[in-house]
């Protein structure tokens, strides 16, 4: 009788462990995290107002949200990384990626800080003035970053893992970033 009770208790414990372990693992994988090599992790966390969170979530969409691991928890832990010409920019952490969002304007998502991915960035372009204005997030391994155009490399100010883009160049001349 004792052996039967012990066996039953043991199997019940295994069942509970499987249930709790699976649930815990699934919940943990949903939690937003910021890679340790991104300085924006040290910025104060804040919650986006519900209306703004909804607007940003709609722009991110299901595909990008799944890919970056953006959930409702992500919008409770955003970092305000600066002001752009189209509004404040926020870093939104996911469980395996992140997005930069300017509310009601635009979002970009990626996995900054992952191997081979030193940065992500988002900028608006005014075709009348040829002005490119925006913001980006870089890993701590990045010492300097420049906007690469056909004519020259334009150094971008980089501080606390955030860089600013504010330069005038014809659209067709813009190539990408030169990173050191």
């Amino acid at each position: 009788m004792v052996r039967k009770a012990a066996l039953a208790a043991s199997l019940a414990a295994v069942a509970w462990a499987v249930f709790a372990g699976t649930s815990s693992a699934l919940q943990a994988s949903d939690r937003p995290v910021i890679r340790s090599n991104l300085a924006v992790a040290a910025f104060p966390a804040q919650a986006l107002p519900q209306s703004e969170a909804t607007a940003v979530n709609d722009l991110i969409g299901v595909q990008l949200a799944d890919r970056a691991g953006i959930t409702a928890d992500s919008f409770e832990e955003v970092r305000r990384i600066g002001q752009t010409v189209t509004g404040p920019a926020y870093f939104i952490p996911g469980s395996h990626g992140a997005c930069i969002a300017v509310v009601a304007e635009a979002v970009v998502c990626g996995d900054p800080g992952a191997p081979g991915i030193p940065s992500i960035a988002l900028a608006s372009f005014d075709a009348r003035s040829n002005r490119l204005s925006g913001i980006g997030v870089a890993a701590t391994t990045v010492n300097a970053i420049a906007l690469e155009t056909r004519a020259e490399n334009v150094p971008l100010p980089l501080a606390n893992g955030v860089f600013r883009i504010n330069t005038s160049a014809p659209r067709e001349s813009i190539r990408g970033f030169a990173i050191h």
Partner: protein
């Protein structure tokens, strides 16, 4: 082994399977509910490089790179809810925008594996997407009648 012992083992095994299935089902249901909350659009149009409306909107294909405007764009105007680019690589550069005419596209530029820009309100416009370099990806726009 006694018959009652076997019964306990079978019962416990069933409980284990049921608990595991319940945990997975709850997690999947939660993801699905979030996904439905996140997105609602009347139509979608995939326009890179093939054209499809309301199906295969997010399918990745080989796209050729170009920094020039109107590299890929819709064939007609609409009231756009948003415009998107998605690609395999997180280091891709792209342009994304709208235009009331095919001649001038105001834009967003950036780096990342996916992006979305907000819509055109009540204005009927074309949607545009131009990766700077050859990529495996897709561009699509959501719109309504």
């Amino acid at each position: 082994m006694h018959r009652r012992s076997k019964m306990w083992i079978v019962l416990a095994a069933h409980l284990t399977v049921a608990a595991t299935a319940a945990a997975v089902a709850l997690a999947v249901a939660g993801q699905s509910a979030r996904a439905k909350e996140a997105y609602a659009a009347t139509h979608c149009t995939h326009y890179t490089p093939t054209y499809s409306q309301d199906y295969n909107c997010y399918i990745w294909q080989n796209l050729t790179g170009s920094g020039y405007h109107d590299h890929y764009h819709t064939t007609g105007v609409a009231k756009r809810d948003d415009n998107h680019f998605s690609s395999q690589s997180s280091s891709d550069y792209w342009w994304l925008g709208y235009s009331p005419s095919e001649a001038s596209f105001p834009s967003y530029w950036g780096q990342g594996y996916g992006t979305g820009i907000s819509g055109t309100g009540s204005s009927y416009e074309y949607a545009e997407c131009s990766p700077l370099y050859d990529v495996t990806g897709a561009c699509w726009t959501d719109w309504h009648d």
